[in-house]
């Protein structure tokens, strides 16, 4: 076999990138944030957005569109459409939205993960993009790697076996 030329593209916090086969795409250390992968069965391109907050409309300083579930997913969908992909064929896999800190007192900050999950699902439904697999919620972090060749999403957490979605 020749040299494996495939690279792993890293997506940072509040960041969005596309990836072309045979490269893989990853985001490291999702906590309350959500990693949304959008792909189709046949296209070479896929994309991943690392979403941090539920809604751009709730925030004044919302220029960084990748940060929010609504504008982040909108932009990822249109970037893929620009590559010639059809929205009707797009499918998503999502992971994240954990509640990392358990507070004894009453605070709504802990539920940001839950609000992110809801907002991501709503936005995908708005675009009529089906969620093929998900691992959301709970109280631990996740690193995800998507392989557009096999369409598998690998989910890694500390002290737990890896999962394949």
């Amino acid at each position: 076999m020749g040299v494996d030329m495939a690279e792993v593209i890293k997506v940072g916090i509040a960041d969005c990138k596309l990836c072309k086969k045979p490269d893989k795409i990853t985001t490291i250390g999702l906590g309350s944030c959500i990693g949304v992968v959008i792909y189709t069965a046949s296209d070479d391109y896929c994309g991943l957005v690392h979403i941090m907050l539920p809604a751009s409309s709730e925030i004044k300083n919302n220029q960084n569109r990748c940060k929010f579930a609504d504008t982040g997913i909108d932009d990822l969908v249109s970037a893929l459409e620009k590559k010639g992909m059809r929205k009707a064929s797009m499918t998503a896999k999502i992971a994240g939205g954990a509640t990392m800190f358990q507070f004894s007192g009453n605070t709504d900050l802990g539920s940001i993960g839950e609000r992110n999950i809801k907002a991501v699902k709503q936005r995908l439904a708005y675009h009529r993009i089906r969620i093929a697999a998900e691992e959301c919620g709970a109280d631990f972090g996740r690193t995800i790697v998507f392989d557009n060749g096999t369409k598998e999403l690998q989910v890694r957490s500390t002290g737990k076996p890896d999962r394949i979605l």
């Binding site: 509040a14 960041d15 250390g29 906590g31 944030c33 300083n61 800190f101 972090g141």
Partner: protein
């Protein structure tokens, strides 16, 4: 503190650094009294960092860390975090509880976690109370919570809070020295724009 759009003046940064200095100094004194040890603190570095650079302070987003987080409220609102690499957390819990852990110990039990929570609580409440004293503002700290996981995941909560106002964070990087051996960790102070204005106003500096 809308750091996404305009930068903090160097004078304001100096003030924040000084607040960080005094707060962190008092915090180490409190900690060394509790641990009955010879703790010192290096002058903290106040840094304004991009989100993706914060986790690099402890070795990257997949580094295992222990973090203690406290919300505070009153005249100013926000949160403080005390973040340590997991090896340092193990050492610190060992000093607190008089135990020695195997070097690959990862199953922090309830006692280990409460010991670390207590260290974080002492550091952060004395930090918050110093800021309260200097600004003459009433501040109250909530009970802390602890999380041990990948740095990126652990930091997602404070980073999301900061994300509401910009793309950067003010980090007070404080190195604690235990008999000259550094305990590598940092304190992070997160507050909103309005609260920063209150701090500067209370100190007599117009915005």
């Amino acid at each position: 503190m809308n750091m996404g759009n305009h930068e903090l003046s160097s004078m304001k940064l100096d003030i924040l650094r000084e607040l960080g200095n005094i707060g962190a100094g008092n915090a180490t004194t409190a900690l060394s009294v509790m641990l009955n040890s010879n703790l010192r603190m290096e002058a903290p570095l106040v840094k304004i960092l991009d989100f993706n650079a914060i986790a690099d302070l402890v070795g990257g987003p997949d580094t295992l860390v222990a973090a203690v987080l406290t919300h505070f409220n009153g005249a100013i609102k926000g949160m403080t975090l005390f973040v340590l690499q997991v090896e340092e957390a193990r050492n610190l819990a060992g000093v607190m509880l008089g135990k020695t852990y195997p070097h690959d110990y990862m199953d922090f039990d309830h006692m280990d976690k409460s010991a670390l929570k207590e260290v974080g609580n002492i550091l952060m409440s004395s930090y918050i109370s110093s800021i309260g004293t200097m600004t003459n503002l009433q501040l109250r700290a909530d009970p802390p919570a602890i999380c041990i996981d990948m740095a990126g995941s652990v930091l997602s909560l404070p980073i999301s809070e900061l994300g509401k106002i910009g793309d950067q964070a003010l980090v007070i990087d404080s190195k604690i020295l235990d008999n000259e051996r550094p305990i590598d960790g940092f304190l992070m102070f997160v507050t909103d724009e309005e609260s920063f204005e209150h701090i500067f106003e209370a100190l007599g500096i117009g915005c």
